[in-house]
């Protein structure tokens, strides 16, 4: 199996790609990486901010694509390349020829894939404008998935066969490849999408399959937060997490983490992950060198069938002493969960609340366990 140890897979989230200047800024940051690293990064690109939502809206309700066209062409003009504008116009014309609205999941995936495609073209040209040697790879040709449209799972073996030769060859030649996140295709060539946030999953898959040194999921927040700041204004950045803690947090709906982001790192190969801004953020690795502040890292939730599963995530949560302390703290807080559970070997303690109780539950749990509980938990 291929290993590209000195390579970083960089995923650019849609939140940081909103207009021409932001593409050039991202390109400048990637150029720094190419100058400092022994081999170029592989860049996974999300759709421009708001575009996936807009495409979904048009799929569901119909309407024009003028806003999408305008956003992309304006960005192309800012980047300053007439050929880029022509390329975008060609692809947007193809998008416009697809009859919408549509309930067809296969057609919907084909429509949604244009968001990432157009964004990739913008970033590729922005990188060229920064004198970076760059070429684009078509995710539909190399990322192979099952046939579950709208939430496909990557077929790692089929993807490796197609990806390894292409990507390795490019980075060894000093060429930075760009590729769409979120998008793949079935073995018969039908376009699929990996579910919202799927670009993270694309990035970790590529890193695991190619043995990259690390994955950097670049976003507009400084890192994974100890709670959603919408509920907890005092939420702080989690500086370090273990891989299984991060996977558990994703499973329980931690904002900004696709549920399958960490699956390739658990089944293929472990690779260090950084989630946050360009200068760093939350570092996720197989094991921490030391136990970070508090065994509990964050609180998050996932709603299912009218119930909210509010999870405290952290290694060691299953230790009896710790569990007892947490239950005492909750008892003293006045919170009344409808139940709680833990699963052996998993770094979480989960409380059940009504969905309308979530804001209060998260606020209180964060306060009593992560803030006041402090070093004792």
């Amino acid at each position: 199996m291929t290993t590209l140890n000195g390579c970083t897979v960089v995923k650019l989230g849609g939140s940081i790609l909103k207009d021409g200047p932001s593409y050039l800024h991202a390109a400048a940051e990637i150029r720094k990486i190419t100058e400092q690293a022994p081999i170029p990064p592989i860049v996974v690109v999300s759709a421009m901010k708001g575009v996936t939502d807009e495409l979904l809206r048009v799929c569901e309700r119909g309407g024009t694509l003028d806003a999408i066209e305008h956003k992309h062409l304006e960005a192309a003009r800012y980047i300053g390349d007439a050929k880029l504008e022509r390329l975008l116009i060609e692809h947007i014309a193809r998008l416009k020829s697809i009859p919408m609205p549509t309930r067809d999941p296969i057609v919907r995936d084909a429509v949604l894939s244009f968001g990432e495609l157009l964004s990739k073209l913008l970033l590729t040209e922005a990188l060229r404008a920064m004198d970076v040697r760059v070429t684009s790879i078509d995710a539909r040709e190399v990322i192979k998935t099952d046939c579950v449209h709208g939430g496909a799972s990557i077929d790692y073996r089929a993807t490796y066969v197609r990806l390894a030769g292409v990507a390795s060859k490019l980075v060894i030649e000093g060429i930075t490849p760009t590729i769409e996140g979120f998008v793949g295709s079935t073995r018969y060539g039908a376009v699929t999408t990996l579910g919202r946030g799927g670009s993270d999953y694309t990035a970790t898959t590529i890193a695991a399959l190619l043995g990259a040194g690390r994955v950097h999921l670049v976003t507009d927040v400084p890192g994974i937060m100890s709670a959603d700041p919408k509920y907890v204004s005092s939420a702080r950045i989690v500086r370090e997490m273990q891989l299984d803690e991060a996977a558990e947090a994703a499973f329980y709906g931690c904002k900004g983490l696709h549920p399958r982001t960490f699956h390739p790192l658990r089944v293929i190969r472990k690779v260090k992950v950084v989630v946050g801004g360009w200068r760093g953020g939350t570092e996720i690795s197989e094991g921490s060198m030391f136990r970070a502040r508090g065994g509990i890292k964050l609180v998050t939730f996932r709603a299912r069938s009218g119930l909210a599963h509010v999870a405290l995530i952290g290694g060691g949560v299953a230790e009896c002493g710790l569990m007892a302390k947490i239950l005492d703290l909750i008892d003293a807080s006045g919170l009344h969960p409808r139940g709680f559970y833990m699963v052996e070997g998993r770094p979480s303690m989960v409380f059940l609340f009504g969905e309308d109780e979530v804001p209060a539950a998260i606020h209180v749990l964060h306060k009593v366990v992560l803030e006041v509980g402090g070093d004792n938990v």
């Binding site: 022509r86 390329l87 020829s97 009859p99 084909a110 030769g165 060429i175 060539g189 039908a190």
Partner: protein, 343 residues
């Protein structure tokens, strides 16, 4: 030390671009395995050309494959706006001419002119373009033979499955007939109609949305593409039929009711191209076949062919000619020609 083989690519749509990328990405593997360095020295599209007499680097080829349609001549500093094939050859005559222009079934142009020009300049030819071999097969073969140049065209029919190679190899066989599903677009449409019990119009819209059918699907649904392939097959076997004499059905006349009646009888409606060698007749017809048969169970964008002879029946099922598959078939032919034409 690798032997250098220079190539000009005429036509730079999705197949031409896929070929450029393939050569860029597989150059070291090809050099290692075959001792061959493929040097693309010119690329021609409908509005001009890009020429580099030393050969485009892999990075240049990747960049060229990302230019907008009909814009290779804007690739600085190698661009030649408005250039024709003769302008390209004046700057750099290749060892191999690769023809990948779109097929025209009225006159075979520009493919016919390009191929004959290459042959007259003693340049070997590899082609994915069907028009020239559909309409002027004998003339092209004879011209190549007189000039002593190689001519390969397996990318013209079922590029993703080596049908032409197989047919060319059946030298001692007495072939009775060849029949099959040779067009991916119409097979997809009929499969959709069958699987979803949907109308032809809805199935076509879906095919177009997924990029499987063209905006104007006439060449596919009126059987022109399949008939062209059948004509080429007939020439390869040595029993040529005239393209314009092949009977063709129109897929757009199929209704959901037809599909349903067939399904109830355990049958599928397929668009079958058939060449009968005894009668020397070709047809592209909508036929009911058992769903359990090879042709009846070949769905989506797959192609399938049965070759029935005095020896046995050979069945081939596989992909037709997507961009990458066709590019691989072209690359195979380039390597073969380069190997057969050592100085």
């Amino acid at each position: 030390m690798a032997r250098i083989v220079s190539v000009v690519i005429a036509g730079f749509g999705s197949v031409g671009r896929s070929l450029a990328r393939l050569i860029a990405l597989k150059s070291s593997r090809i050099e290692e395995r075959y001792g061959l360095r493929i040097c693309v020295i010119g690329i021609l599209d409908s509005k001009g050309a890009a020429v580099n007499t030393s050969g485009f680097s892999p990075y240049d080829l990747l960049r060229l494959s990302e230019t907008p349609r009909s814009a290779v001549s804007s690739y600085s500093p190698c661009g030649m706006p408005g250039a024709s094939l003769s302008d390209v050859y004046e700057r750099a005559t290749p060892d191999i001419h690769v023809e990948v222009t779109p097929s025209d079934y009225q006159n075979g142009e520009p493919g016919v002119s390009h191929i004959l020009y290459a042959i007259n300049n003693r340049v070997n030819v590899v082609s994915a373009s069907k028009g020239p071999f559909t309409l002027r097969y004998k003339e092209i073969i004879e011209a190549a033979s007189r000039r002593g140049v190689a001519l390969k065209f397996k990318a013209t029919v079922m590029a993703g499955t080596p049908l032409i190679d197989v047919l060319s190899g059946l030298k001692g066989y007495e072939i009775y007939y060849v029949e099959g599903i040779l067009n991916a677009t119409t097979n997809f449409i009929l499969s959709e109609m069958q699987e979803r019990l949907t109308s032809y119009e809805d199935a076509l819209k879906r095919a177009q949305a997924l990029g499987i059918a063209e905006t104007d699907p006439t060449m596919d649904v009126k059987g022109l593409d399949a008939a062209a392939k059948l004509t080429i097959i007939s020439n390869v076997i040595g029993c040529p039929v005239e393209f314009h004499q092949i009977e063709r059905d129109d897929v757009s006349r199929i209704t959901v009711s037809d599909i349903y009646s067939a399904l109830r009888a355990g049958r599928a409606i397929k668009y079958i191209a058939r060449l009968d060698l005894e009668d020397r007749r070709g047809s592209v017809k909508l036929r009911e076949v058992p769903r359990s048969s090879v042709l009846g169970s070949t769905n989506g964008t797959l192609n399938a062919v049965r070759i029935v002879s005095d020896v046995n029946e050979i069945v081939m099922v596989g992909s037709g000619g997507g961009g990458m598959e066709t590019a691989h078939a072209l690359l195979d032919d380039i390597i073969t020609v380069a190997g057969e034409n050592r100085p």
